[in-house]
């Protein structure tokens, strides 16, 4: 009546049997072979990866007297314990005097450690080494750890300590630094499958590869978990396992139903999705498992949707993969990502509240309501384009029609974006400065063209937005003069510069102003450098004094790379240069604020204000 579960029965008894962890095994073997065994080891890693097992094998290997006799056969065999001798079998059965396996979680206080310290002084009873395996070492109290420090640093020559833990961070640094640190890692899927296969053969259990991979997937890389699953399956089904039974016992939804569900979600066919979920429930599927299956499935689909060559990352059978590849076209990675997010959120909701079915139904409703939308990046791009326009004082929805050649303006933007400096047919004769002259030509019907950005500017912006960023501004002054986009960019830089210098009033005046190269482009570049006319509401032009003009010139010269002459032109029709306003409201309005400002700078009022330290409270019209 001493039945052992598979995980215990098949606990490896020699280094060769251990699955994975080659980095640990190789080191230990070499240490044993060269007789350079350390006095303290720290084995750490996730559960079920072989820490206690390797500790026991190590205990046997260092004590086994038969180990050295085998040297003539092969080198690898030498590190292995014989598992036959008295010492080996005593250690295997856990009744050796010299191998003490201490459960640190149950004996976590200082007293057991003191006792242990006393015992270390005594020579081993029979074996060569006295070995202390301290399992679950992270549970020792700080006092216990500290009591161990001195012993661990310089133990008697016949003592080896092996500490094993799952929680490395809870071991004090002082302990870690006295030990040889070995990390145990999660095992690969095929290593687990290989081990399970060996066990199944030995135990006479019939199971196919798909079943094995189901188990190994579920075990998350921990061999003991996998072995326990196999144990549960054989205990509840018997020696012959097929995939359906495994699905049933593990609570997986059958692949067929899961696929049905996923198809329905991809087609956004909600009723069908709900029906498949209902079928899954009626078949006794564990809904949290089913949720995990769905997440994995959508994840695989997303990989395939990103690139069909990513199939090497996906662990599934060939036929499944083909099916998935067909489905992958049905949705974009973005949509799949959102579905996955919804399912993940549902997972935590189920954990919190229970009622898996209702939550899963809600998730399906949400998932099916996701339409194949516009990509976020595209929306952002469009938004920034619109922002760009608004910043330049041009509204996307203009209230008046383009003055001339509406066809050439309205219908061609896409083509324009590919060819930056477009030559308009209407502007063809003026080859030297096609664009500027074109503005002139097109907008001549609109009064005060210089003060007002016209519809053609909208088009020009488009060019600007799509042009590669032009860095050689200073090098090509001629270009600047000719291209209003360039100019607009420089103007923006100027505005930013003003902001940085704290010249907020000036910034405010110029924000709405529109720079125009001087009329007649040849004259623009004269001996005095670039002549720049800035259209500005008359109320503002008076406010800018000579110092500020000098500053502007200086800054512009820096930006363009040539001396600049600025002259302000009053724009009567459009004081704000803000085209978002309907034309009716674009009349010349002077706000009280502007009036006050004007009054403060009035040559007669200003000294009076200064003299009396007065403030302007109210301005009344004459």
């Amino acid at each position: 009546m001493s039945y052992e579960v598979l995980a215990q029965k098949w606990r490896p008894q020699s280094f060769g049997d251990v699955v994975g962890q080659t980095h640990v095994i190789t080191t230990l073997r070499n240490q044993i072979l060269s007789d350079r065994i350390g006095h303290a080891y720290l084995f750490w890693g996730p559960r079920g990866t072989g820490k206690t097992t390797v500790a026991r094998i190590l205990a046997k290997a260092v004590n086994c007297p038969n180990r050295e006799q085998e040297t003539e056969f092969s080198q690898a065999a030498t590190a292995e314990p014989c598992n036959n001798c008295q010492f080996c079998s005593e250690i295997s059965q856990g009744r050796s005097f010299d191998v003490v396996e201490m459960d640190a979680a149950s004996n976590r206080g200082i007293d057991p450690i003191r006792e242990l310290r006393e015992n270390t002084k005594l020579a081993p009873a029979a074996c060569r080494y006295k070995i202390y395996i301290i399992d679950e070492a992270h549970m020792l109290t700080p006092e216990a750890f500290n009591a161990l420090l001195k012993t661990l640093e310089e133990p008697p020559p016949h003592v080896i300590f092996i500490l094993a833990t799952t929680e490395h961070h809870r071991i004090p640094k002082t302990i870690v630094s006295r030990c040889q640190d070995f990390d145990f890692r999660y095992m690969e899927q095929d290593q687990i499958i290989g081990r399970l296969q060996a066990i199944c053969e030995a135990e006479d259990v019939q199971i196919d590869n798909q079943g094995l991979s189901l188990i190994s997937l579920q075990s998350e890389g921990c061999l003991r978990d996998a072995e326990n699953l196999l144990e549960r399956l054989t205990a509840s089904i018997g020696k012959e396992l097929n995939v359906d039974q495994i699905n049933q016992i593990l609570g997986f939804g059958s692949n067929h139903l899961i696929n049905e569900l996923i198809d329905a979600v991809l087609r956004t066919d909600l009723p069908a999705a709900l029906e498949s979920l209902d079928k899954l429930v009626k078949n006794g599927t564990d809904l949290t498992q089913c949720l995990h299956q769905q997440i994995t499935c959508f994840r695989n689909l997303r990989l395939l949707a990103i690139g069909s060559n990513l199939d090497s990352i996906i662990q599934t059978s060939k036929s499944e993969l083909e099916l998935m590849k067909e489905k992958a076209h049905l949705a974009s990675p973005e949509r799949l990502s959102r579905i996955i997010k919804i399912l993940m959120r549902t997972n935590s909701e189920i954990k919190q509240h229970g009622y898996a079915q209702i939550h899963l139904e809600s998730a399906l409703i949400d998932a099916c309501s996701i339409q194949e939308g516009i990509q976020l990046t595209k929306i952002l791009k469009r938004l920034s384009e619109i922002e760009d326009k608004i910043d330049r004082g041009e509204a996307p929805s203009r209230t008046y029609a383009p003055p001339t050649a509406p066809g050439s303006v309205g219908n061609t933007p896409p083509r324009r974006s590919t060819t930056a400096p477009v030559l308009e047919p209407s502007a063809a004769p003026q080859m030297a400065e096609p664009q500027v002259s074109k503005y002139e030509a097109q907008s001549s019907s609109v009064p005060n063209i210089k003060s007002k950005p016209t519809s053609t500017d909208t088009r020009g912006d488009k060019d600007g937005a799509n042009q590669p960023n032009i860095k050689s501004v200073s090098a090509d002054v001629q270009h600047v003069v000719s291209d209003s986009n360039e100019l607009a960019k420089i103007w923006e830089k100027l505005l930013v510069g003003l902001q940085e210098r704290g010249k907020m009033p000036l910034y405010g005046y110029l924000k709405g102003a529109a720079p125009q190269p001087s009329n007649g482009t040849e004259a623009a570049l004269s001996g005095n450098g670039l002549e720049l006319k800035v259209a500005c509401p008359p109320a503002y032009t008076d406010l800018i004094d000579d110092n500020e003009k000098a500053l502007l010139k200086e800054m512009l010269a820096d930006l363009i790379g040539t001396p600049v002459q600025i002259s302000f032109v009053a724009s009567s029709a459009n004081p704000h240069a803000n085209a978002t306003l309907p034309p009716s409201r674009r009349s010349q309005e002077i706000t009280p604020m502007m009036l006050q400002h004007q009054a403060e700078r009035d040559p007669e009022v200003a000294p009076a204000l200064k003299l009396f330290g007065a403030k302007i409270l109210k301005i009344e019209p004459k």
């Binding site: 001493s2 579960v5 149950s106 399992d135 144990e231 609570g251 909600l270 409703i365």
Partner: protein
Amino acid sequence: MQTPIIGHQQILEQLYHAIASNRVAGAYLFVGVANVGKETVALHFAKSINCLSSDEAACGTCLSCRKADDGNHPDLQIIRPSGAWIKIDQIRELQKRIIYRPLEGVRKVYILTEVERMNLEAANCLLKTLEEPPADSVLILLTTNLDAMLPTIRSRCQIIPFHPLLVSDLAGHLMERFDIDETQAFSISTAAGGAVGKALGLLQDGAEFDEDIPEIMMAGNRLDAFRIAEKWTAQPEALDHLVTWYRDLVMLHQGAPANLLTHVHHAEELRQLATHYSRLQLQSAIKAIFETKAMLQRNVNATLALEVLALKLLRKP
């Protein structure tokens, strides 16, 4: 005469199979929502292991089974949280006793209930025992929350998940065993969410659920909300019931076929009702109910929470 266990047939078969083929593992972890029947099955499993006259299911008549039923079988012990937690001393006590041979039975069985309430020291203390329990002992851990368990504990146990029964199955069992009509059986099973123990508890308390559309869905007056909230305060299970109705509304709203509904009899009225809501309204109603349920478990002012919920659920005119 023992009463058969309601539901969980598959699990029982697995366990019987293990007993019959002498493959009973040393450590099990039963996982499932509260009152779903974990403890009942665990006790039955323990009896079956030690039953003198049967190789599979416990006979219920032999000396061993009767002792277990009366709670004085020396080889069966149930460990429950003492106070809020299962403490390390309880586990140490267990470890002291588990090394002895069974007194009468084939194997000693230790059932630990609510192990999610085992504190960290106790859980770690149990690890070595779980990994290699003495050959003639079985540890059965019961928990409602697998994620609250240490991965090291999970990895050492045979995990057996318990699912709530299908409402229709549970209602069938209830009708078979108790003298109740179909609608009552259905409403109790629905409110219990398929958990057997909870359904039996509700039945014992004489809880009555009117199988009518909940008032809150019809009410439009704020004063009604307070009256309804008062009712809920007296009977918090009503929320479990309520959520199924909202779930039906969402389903109908989204065009699901009527056979998926919980309250099939009211399909037409619900369909009418569903048109008054938007999908988001219904989904947030369900969310609000769940949140209130969670709050009630955290010792909030119940009346206040339920009143807030009722006001939230009130249909906007």
